[in-house]
Each structure stands twice: as structure tokens, then as C-alpha cells.
């Protein structure tokens, strides 16, 4: 990849981050948590996008971002008022920016009028800004002082001492001067003292430096931003003369190169001429108030995800080799080579640590998904006329990046469902003695090597009669099946079941929850719901910390070795005579504590020869599918429990029904990982007539 393409890629990555920050800032303002700094941060976000866009020549994006920036600027300096309406407009504008960014990224072209309406509205709002009087009803963010500095003039002395490669970096000082001149009255002094004689003069080098005296109404950080596109911060020093003479104008000094250490609240706004660096996420917290809970900046580098994945794979190999070594070592008499054994044990410790570190590199805070939820809640609440309060807990919990990426859709669906089906209208709630505002609580935490995400709403809960009636009607369960409350609740994950009486925009097509479940399963996770009618519903999502390794039970069937994910296992047992019954039609069931569990013979399912066919000698593993359905999996023998590295079968072959992947065992042989949830569905021949009813 050439350098420009790489810069461009970085830019788009950062656009995503910056946009989600931007939305987070807007939501904070909307909820009254914001302050002037929040608004400034929002401004900076759009400003960075604009800056990069103009560097890469995305005209449409620049134009739109400019209009948005103008409005934000007016809001920031107090000449426009922030109302709930304005925030809605800004949110819509954020969507348009996202569309334009995507279009720029894909090289596609949006329809001509795509941003038209919002653009007009932005311009209109910005123009009308000063005149706009917030109606009493509209919740303004008036409590926040949006104008940190009193109106008036600031005086700055700016020293610009560019390095000699100024021109090579594509910077034209004249443009910079012109831009400064627009902000106020400017006196420029150029220092030509360093210009050599004509013999020594290199036209490619810069020998000049400048001193500017600027009188302007613009706060220093804006000035710094103007300059940040052209100059690295080591080349620039901005001195606020007002403060220097001690009139105490509050300021947020940007790049006082000489005074940087003095100002603990300094906002390092000045970037460099390179657009990639310029739009890097900046510290958002101003003067110590961390309204958004954004953690202080930790120095970091950007690494291509592919490189990281390669590293993860390599470490996976290392762990497998380690396992092989350990297996070989067990053949060596312990007393003969104590040094060797100690060495290998140490190696194995290091390998495990290395693996953990590498895995943690892929981990990211769930905040990345959670940040989008407030906006979603706001929109769905508006669509349904309900009042919702959203509470988020444990946003810093870290999960594998891939899991995070795939978490957004299921969460969106579940929240829509919770608001649409779960939470009652304010009137209904009033009659039930509940507060008019519904509560949705989303929390994430690490529990026992898993990530558990809970999504609770204090709505009406699941109407079990309705769900059951519907499930019977749809043929998902039979009338005479005895189901407990929990099983009935979990029927909502069955395909084709929706209890909403009307199909709405939001949910109710009956395709939602089964897809949610499928998505979660695909990530190796599980989802269940627990509901108390009239009080609440809680979804429990449990997800693996990583997709790369899995705790498995290694089992033998005939000459083949399989791995059954430990997360699916409930118990193992040797069936007693009479415990296994054959139903008419050929399927076997296991009678277990009054329940009948369908049995799947792995050797039949996978056509393994030389397997044990005598059921009295077989071992039954009671496993639970992701649909909370229990199966008795019949195998020959359990070899042991082991952590295995998951390998894709699909990279060189196709997906095989009932196989979730493969792994390499300590002896170097490949073992297939059984996908328990798929054993009962479809496949070659169902082993049990219960299949069609119970799946």
C-alpha cells in the first residue's frame, strides 16, 4: 500500500472514532451532562473530519462539514442557542457526515440531494442562531455556560519558526497568514536574518520565520487550530498578551511551547501538517471535569488488524507446539533430566503469558458499542412515544474486537424490542404505579472467564400465555409439552415467533430474536431471558473473552477424536439399562429425572466406523444447545479436558454441518470441534422424532 492510501485508511478509521465521539458529546449535551468543553470537543471532532477531507479533496464532505462546523461554532461562542431541536439536527447531520465519509471511502457517489435538506437546515439554524429564542418548553442546555470568555478582543503574539523543510511539507505560509488575517487585525513581521547569500541559497529550503501580532475575538484554541494544519507544535508558540499583562482572561492555551508545563489543563490542540496525526483522538476533558467519563489519553500506536491476527495465529501455533512438547516430555523419566523438565515448564508458563497478552491486544472496551445506544434509545423512544431512561454500567469491560463488532446488531435489536414490547406507555405505567419513565439498564462484566452482558427493562415482562399460545399455533411446541416458565420465556428466541399484535417499524416481524440468538451463537456465546411479569425482563448474554481459544472436552468415537465445547456441557453419565428408550419411528430418548432427552449418536451422525454400538458401554454427554435444548450426545470415551486453539475449516474447505471448526491436538493431528447446536437441526438424518417439535 502506498503512503497516501495508508494515510487515507487511517483517516477513515479515525473518522469512525471521531464520529462516535461526536455523537457521544451530543448525547451528553442532550441529557444535560455536557458543558462548554463538550461543545468544543464536538466542534473539534467535526473540524478534524473537515481537515482531513480537505487534505484528500473530498469536496462534498468538506462543504457539509463546514456548514456543520459553522453552526457548532455559533453554538460554542454563544451566538446560537442549543435546543433539543438543534441537537436532533446535529444528530441527523452526524449521519450525513457518516454517509459522506463512507461514500468517500468506497469511492461511490451519493445521490445529489442527499445532504440537501440537512445542509439547508444547518445553514438556516446558523444564520438564525443569534435570533433564535428558545421556547420555554424546549429543554435548553442553559445551565451550561457556553461562553467561557467574555466578549472582547484577545491579543496574541505568535512566533512561527518553521523548520527548513516547510515547503517540502507542502505548506504555503502566505495562506496561513491570509487565514489569520480573517480572524482579526494582524501585524506580520518576517525575520529574514537566516537567508544566506545567493551562492548558498537552496530554493527548496525555508530560511524565514515570522512573528504575528493578532488582535481578534477568537479564543486562542481556535487560533491554534487554524495553525495546526500547517505547523508542528514545536514550530509554533502562541503567547496570550492579555494574560501576560495579567488581566486574567480565562483561556485554554493550546500550544504555548514554552509554557506547556505550566498549564495542566492544556489541550494539545495543535497537530501537525500530516492529516493523519491531525485528526487523532485528542484529550477531551477540559479543566478537570470529565463529563463523559473519557479516560485520560494513553499513548498508543495503531496496528493493522491483520498483523495482530497473524500474531494471534502464531501464538496459537506456539501453544500447540508447547502442548506437543509436554506430551513428549511425559515419556521422559523425570529424574533423568530435571533441567529439561524445568525448562519446558518455564517455557509453557511464558507461552501462556504470551498468549494472554496477545489476546488482550485484541480486546477493546464495550464502550465502543455502548456509546451508540443512547441515541438509539432516544430515537426509538420518540417513535413510540415512550419515555426511557438508559443506564449503562461497566462500559470499560473489554472484549475481543470481533465480538464487539458483532455485538451492535443484536444489542440494537434487543433494545428496540425492549422499548417496543417491554416498556409501557407513560399512561399505562401510571396506572400500574410505575414511574412514567421506563428504565433500560445495560451492563457488562467479566464473570468466570466470560463476558456477561445484561439488558434489563422494567416493563411488562413476557406474557407467557400469549407466547405459549403463539408457539403452539406456529407448531413450535406441541400442546401436551410440559414447559416451565423459563422454557416458555426462552421460546421468544424460536424462529417465527412474535407476539406483537401489530407489526411495527421497530419490531414485531418475528425475525428478530432468533436472529439475535443466531448472531450470539455464532460468536460462541449464549443468550437467555428471565422475566417477571409486570415487573421486568432481563436478557443475559454470555460471550467468550476471545474467539481464538476454547475450553473443550476431548472425546473419542471409534478411531476419531472430537472436541465438544465445555460451555455446552451439563454432565456426563453412563446410562443404566432401561434408561434408553426407543420411540416409534426410530429415535432414542434418554429418560433422565423425569425428562426425556433426545439422543444423538455421534458415530451415526458423523458416520464413524468401528465405533462402539453397545449403548450399555457408551458414555452419554448431556449437552445444552444454544436454544436451551438438551441433548444426550453418545460417545465412546472421554479423553480429557483441554484448551484448544480454534482453527477455521472454511479457509480451505467448506462448512460442514455439525462441525464448528477444527483444532490441532498435542500429537499434531487435527480434531474437529462439534457444533452441538447444529446436531439436532437439519443434517443428514434426525435421530429423534422430537427434533421437529423441540428445536
Amino acid at each position: 500500500m502506498d503512503e497516501i492510501a495508508q494515510l487515507r485508511q487511517t483517516y477513515f478509521q479515525e473518522c469512525d472514532e471521531v464520529l462516535s465521539e461526536f455523537e457521544a458529546h451530543l448525547m451528553a449535551l442532550d441529557e444535560g451532562r455536557g458543558n462548554a468543553e463538550t461543545l468544543r470537543a464536538a466542534f473539534r471532532a467535526i473540524h478534524s473530519i473537515k481537515g482531513g477531507a480537505s487534505a484528500f479533496g473530498y469536496r462534498r464532505l468538506v462543504n457539509f462539514a463546514h456548514a456543520l462546523e459553522t453552526l457548532l461554532d455559533k453554538l460554542r461562542n454563544g451566538s446560537a442557542t442549543l435546543t433539543a431541536d438543534t441537537i436532533s439536527l446535529l444528530l441527523r447531520a452526524a449521519d450525513i457526515v457518516a454517509d459522506l465519509v463512507r461514500a468517500a471511502q468506497s469511492g461511490g457517489e451519493l445521490i445529489e440531494k442527499h445532504e440537501g435538506a440537512v445542509l439547508d437546515a444547518l445553514v438556516l439554524r446558523a444564520d438564525a442562531g443569534a435570533l433564535a429564542v428558545a421556547p420555554d418548553a424546549a429543554p435548553t442546555v442553559a445551565s451550561v455556560n457556553l461562553t467561557p470568555a467574555p466578549a472582547g478582543k484577545y491579543h496574541y503574539r505568535i512566533a512561527f519558526n518553521p523548520r527548513s523543510d516547510l515547503f517540502q511539507r507542502g505548506i504555503e505560509p502566505q495562506l496561513m497568514i491570509a487565514e489569520l488575517r480573517q480572524t482579526g487585525s494582524l501585524a506580520v513581521t518576517a525575520d529574514a536574518g537566516a537567508v544566506p547569500t545567493i551562492e548558498a541559497f537552496d530554493p527548496k529550503r525555508n530560511y524565514l520565520s515570522w512573528a504575528f501580532e493578532l488582535e481578534t475575538a477568537t479564543p486562542s484554541e481556535t487560533v491554534a487550530e487554524t495553525l495546526s494544519f500547517v505547523a508542528d507544535d514545536d514550530e509554533l508558540a502562541i503567547l496570550n498578551l492579555d494574560r501576560a499583562v495579567g488581566n486574567g482572561v480565562p483561556q485554554n492555551p493550546a500550544t504555548e511551547a514554552t509554557k506547556a508545563t505550566e498549564d495542566s489543563n492544556g489541550d494539545t490542540a495543535a497537530g501537525s501538517a500530516r492529516p493523519s496525526a491531525d485528526i487523532a483522538p485528542r484529550p477531551l476533558a477540559g479543566s478537570g471535569d470529565d463529563a463523559l467519563g473519557i479516560a485520560p489519553v494513553v499513548s498508543s500506536i495503531r496496528v493493522d488488524l491483520h498483523k495482530l491476527d497473524t500474531l494471534v495465529n502464531l501464538v496459537g501455533e506456539l501453544v500447540i507446539s508447547q502442548a506437543m512438547l509436554n506430551e513428549q516430555l511425559s515419556l521422559v523419566p523425570t529424574d533423568k533430566f530435571p533441567g529439561l523438565i524445568r525448562g519446558v515448564q518455564e517455557l509453557s508458563q511464558h507461552a501462556r503469558n504470551l498468549q494472554e497478552s496477545v489476546m488482550s491486544m485484541r480486546a477493546q472496551p464495550v464502550k465502543l458499542v455502548f456509546a451508540r445506544l443512547p441515541r438509539l434509545v432516544r430515537e426509538v423512544a420518540a417513535e413510540t412515544g415512550k419515555r426511557i431512561r438508559l443506564l449503562m454500567i461497566g462500559e470499560d469491560t473489554e472484549i475481543d474486537k470481533t465480538v464487539i463488532e458483532h455485538l451492535h446488531d443484536p444489542l440494537t435489536h434487543m433494545i428496540r424490542n425492549a422499548i417496543d414490547h417491554g416498556i409501557e406507555t407513560p399512561e399505562e405505567r401510571a396506572t400500574m404505579g410505575k414511574p412514567p419513565e421506563g428504565l433500560i439498564r445495560v451492563s457488562a462484566s467479566h464473570i468466570g472467564g466470560k463476558i456477561v452482558i445484561q439488558l434489563a427493562d422494567d416493563g411488562r415482562g413476557i406474557n407467557r400465555q400469549k407466547v405459549l399460545a403463539r408457539a403452539i399455533e406456529k407448531g413450535i411446541v406441541t400442546r401436551d409439552q410440559q414447559l416451565n416458565d423459563e422454557q416458555i420465556d426462552n421460546l421468544i428466541f424460536a424462529p417465527g415467533l412474535s407476539t406483537a399484535t401489530t407489526v411495527s417499524n421497530i419490531s414485531g416481524r418475528g425475525v428478530g430474536m432468533d436472529i439475535v440468538r443466531r448472531n450470539i451463537q455464532r460468536l460462541g456465546g449464549r443468550i437467555t431471558i428471565r422475566s417477571t411479569p409486570g415487573i421486568e425482563s432481563i436478557f443475559y448474554l454470555s460471550l467468550p473473552l476471545t474467539l481464538a481459544v476454547l475450553d473443550g472436552m476431548v472425546v473419542r468415537v471409534g478411531g476419531e477424536t472430537y472436541v465438544v465445547p465445555l460451555s455446552n456441557m451439563v454432565e456426563t453419565l453412563r446410562p443404566q439399562p432401561g434408561q434408553v428408550r426407543t420411540l416409534v419411528g426410530g429415535g432414542d430418548v434418554l429418560s433422565l429425572r423425569g425428562e426425556y432427552v433426545p439422543m444423538v449418536y455421534l458415530h451415526r451422525k458423523f458416520a464413524v466406523s468401528q465405533a462402539n454400538t453397545d449403548i450399555s458401554k457408551a458414555l452419554v454427554m448431556l449437552v445444552e444447545t444454544d436454544a436451551s435444548m438438551r441433548i444426550g450426545l453418545v460417545v465412546d470415551e472421554i479423553v480429557g479436558q483441554q484448551q484448544v486453539v480454534i482453527k477455521s475449516l472454511e479457509s480451505n474447505y467448506d462448512a460442514i454441518h455439525g462441525i464448528g471448526g477444527a483444532t490441532i491436538l498435542g500429537n499434531g493431528r487435527v480434531a474437529l470441534i462439534v457444533d452441538v447446536s447444529m446436531l439436532l437441526t437439519g443434517g443428514i438424518s434426525p435421530d429423534s422424532p422430537l427434533v421437529s417439535n423441540a428445536a
Binding site: E560, S651, Y653, I656, I659, R669, L672
Partner: protein, 167 residues
């Protein structure tokens, strides 16, 4: 066969190919045997030649899919060329050879009896496959050449692995 295995060095062969005068018209072919028949596969597709090692069976797959093996951390399927040509499964032992070929982004191992030689084939010498309808191998061949008075059928690796390559 054993000599062919040990003396096989793709780098050396490719270098020679670069010296050939009419590079565009000739290509290097890895010749292998299945039963009494000789076949050839374009060397540019060949990634590795290795001795047979036991595979892990894949359930519910056609008989010519012999299972998967671990090649330096990749799970690679092994296709039995004899079974693919409808001549029954190979009774594989350590003397048998697996030619690992790249088909698109995928790696597939072809189980054959032995690798015999690497020869340069002139494009003009390649004859069309006679239309012997009903021959199971027919669909997998792209041409026939005569090398040292012996007929060598050039296989189209991607067609041998068609069920794999399709996806």
C-alpha cells in the same frame, strides 16, 4: 519416487523456467502417477510435496475427500485423485504422496501414488482431450501431452477440487 521427492526444489525449477527462451510457450509440469496412468499438474500451482500422513475424516463428505491434515497450522483437506477419477479409494500408506496445490486462496492436498518427474512442456505439444464421454477423469483434464513416448494427462487442479474451489 523417493528421489523425486527429495530432489524436488521449486526454487531451482522456477529459476530454470526463467531461463527458457520461449517462456510464454512452455511451462513446467509436475508429473505424478495414479495406478498405471501418468498425469501432470502445472508447477505454478504446486506449493509443496509431502509424504502421506493419516488424515482426520470429515463427516458426510464425498468418498474422495480423505479428510484434513495439519500443515504448519493450516487445516488442509486432502482429495484422493484415484477416487476423484472414480477408481475407488487409494489404500494410502507412507509411500504415497500428497501434492499441495493452491486453488485461489485455498490450499488443497492431492493424494497420488507417486511423483515421477518435472518436465517442461511446450504449449504447442498439448493436445485437446479426446471426448471420451463417460470417463470420470475427463472433466478434470485440460490437455494431453506425450513425454518420452508416454502419454501424460494434464489435470486442471481447480476442476479436481471443484467442490472445494466452488466456494
Amino acid at each position: 519416487m523417493a528421489q523425486a521427492q527429495t530432489s524436488f526444489d521449486p526454487m531451482r525449477i522456477v529459476d530454470n523456467g526463467g531461463d527458457a527462451q520461449d517462456k510464454a510457450l512452455s511451462r513446467q509440469v509436475v508429473c505424478f502417477r495414479v495406478g498405471a496412468e501418468s498425469y501432470g499438474v502445472d508447477i505454478r500451482l504446486v506449493r509443496e510435496i509431502r509424504a502421506w500422513s493419516p488424515t482426520t475424516n470429515l463427516p458426510n463428505t464425498p468418498d474422495y475427500v480423505r479428510g484434513v491434515i495439519n500443515i504448519r497450522g493450516s487445516i488442509v483437506p486432502i482429495l484422493d485423485v484415484r477416487a476423484r477419477f472414480g477408481q475407488g479409494q487409494t489404500e494410502a500408506n507412507k509411500a504415497h504422496v500428497v501434492i499441495v496445490v493452491a486453488i485461489g486462496a485455498r490450499l488443497v492436498g492431492l493424494l497420488v501414488d507417486a511423483v515421477s518427474d518435472i518436465v517442461a512442456v511446450n504449449e504447442s505439444e498439448v493436445k485437446a482431450v479426446p471426448d471420451v464421454s463417460g470417463a470420470a477423469a475427463h472433466e478434470c483434464l485440460e490437455g494431453i501431452v506425450t513425454i518420452n513416448e508416454q502419454m501424460v494427462a494434464l489435470v486442471a487442479a481447480e476442476r479436481i477440487a471443484l467442490p472445494v474451489a466452488l466456494n
